[in-house]
Symmetry: C2
Subunit: 211 residues, 2 copies
């Protein structure tokens, strides 16, 4: 499966969970197409590749689709996530409730500042960075979100790699790269650089695309 | 220029500004390559396409490179940005100091809640949503960041389009799409869906790439 198809499947999956939460039982390809921002033909093609078949009338059973796509997306595995760096962005993520419907749980935060990790007002436990490896193992954490300043991003990343973390979502302005471990590129790293996104938008508005 | 090359150029530009701020005057292709996460051969190829030539010894003049890349990236234009939705993520962006070196200024926030827009403790002015069009025009704003909840994202976006905004960085979970205006796709929209990024990471860690 290529990465565009993966993006679409995660979108279908999210849309299906929303539709189920408002009481729907069946869905048509064109409903999912609207939710994922693609054409109904693409939804049908994706489902055909995945060997998912609808009924002639009434569309697809939502519960069945969620189960099938969920197993493709590895929803059986633990989805515990930690946040490294509890500044404003880190705190915003710790309070964000939009992850729960996707089965993602932010289980702990880490900070190097005693004023931050001694503060009991956080919605989840916040630990000193010195306890990183211990908590990752105890809580069966696979993925970490990095929201530390640029100056400490590379060090935090190295510690996460050594603690055998499998995936990293990096909001620091440093571009983090996977390493070669047992012949594979690990961990999976997604870099989100907000300033860079804005830069690109400012560039692209000078050359708007043809419709 | 394709989008990969654009990403590289914005990275070179950011790295150059950092190098200048620590007092360097010249830079080699391999330094920029390290900063942008590519090979030196790619940097040289990009510069050759852009008709940027280094000296035989000592590398490229940083100040000249910044001027050339800056003009390619449209740095002469106003880069005033507003934030729609001053919840936790919106506030984090309003306080973020990492945009200034790139010439991006967050000039105003907007919120529908009187408790938020009457609060004088924000680092920049926060207005009621009713003043959106007026402030966009008065402050010559081209780009907006959307950090409102899912339920109001589509409405906010429509108002921004009608106020002739040119670019949108969308953090709401709704996927926003450009419209066709005068035969062009407008505005430029970048959607950042944090839950979706985490979903994809959880998927990809099941199938690590070969090195």
């Amino acid at each position: 499966m290529n990465s565009d198809m993966l993006v679409r499947i995660t979108r279908y999956y999210r849309a299906l969970n929303r539709l189920r939460s408002i009481g729907l039982e069946k869905v048509f390809a064109h409903n999912l197409a609207d939710a994922a921002g693609v054409s109904a033909a693409i939804v049908r093609k994706d489902f055909s590749i995945l060997e998912i078949h609808g009924q002639k009338r009434g569309g697809y059973e939502i519960v069945e689709l969620i189960a099938k796509l969920g197993s493709i997306l590895g929803k059986g595995n633990p989805q515990n996530v930690i946040v490294i760096g509890c500044g404003r962005i880190g705190k915003a993520l710790m309070h964000y409730s939009g992850f729960e419907p996707d089965g993602i749980r932010i289980v702990a935060g880490f900070d190097s500042d005693p004023l931050v990790y001694s503060d009991a007002s956080h919605p989840i436990p916040v630990y000193p960075l010195s306890r990183l490896e211990e908590v990752i193992e105890a809580m069966d954490v696979n993925v970490a979100i990095i929201t530390v300043p640029e100056s400490s991003a590379a060090d935090c990343y190295q510690r996460l790699v050594e603690a055998n973390i499998q995936g990293v979502l990096n909001f620091s302005p440093v571009t983090l790269k996977p390493q070669v471990i047992d012949g594979k590129l690990r961990p999976v790293v997604h870099n989100i650089n907000i300033a860079l996104e804005l830069e690109q938008i400012f560039y692209e508005i000078q050359y708007p695309k043809e419709a």
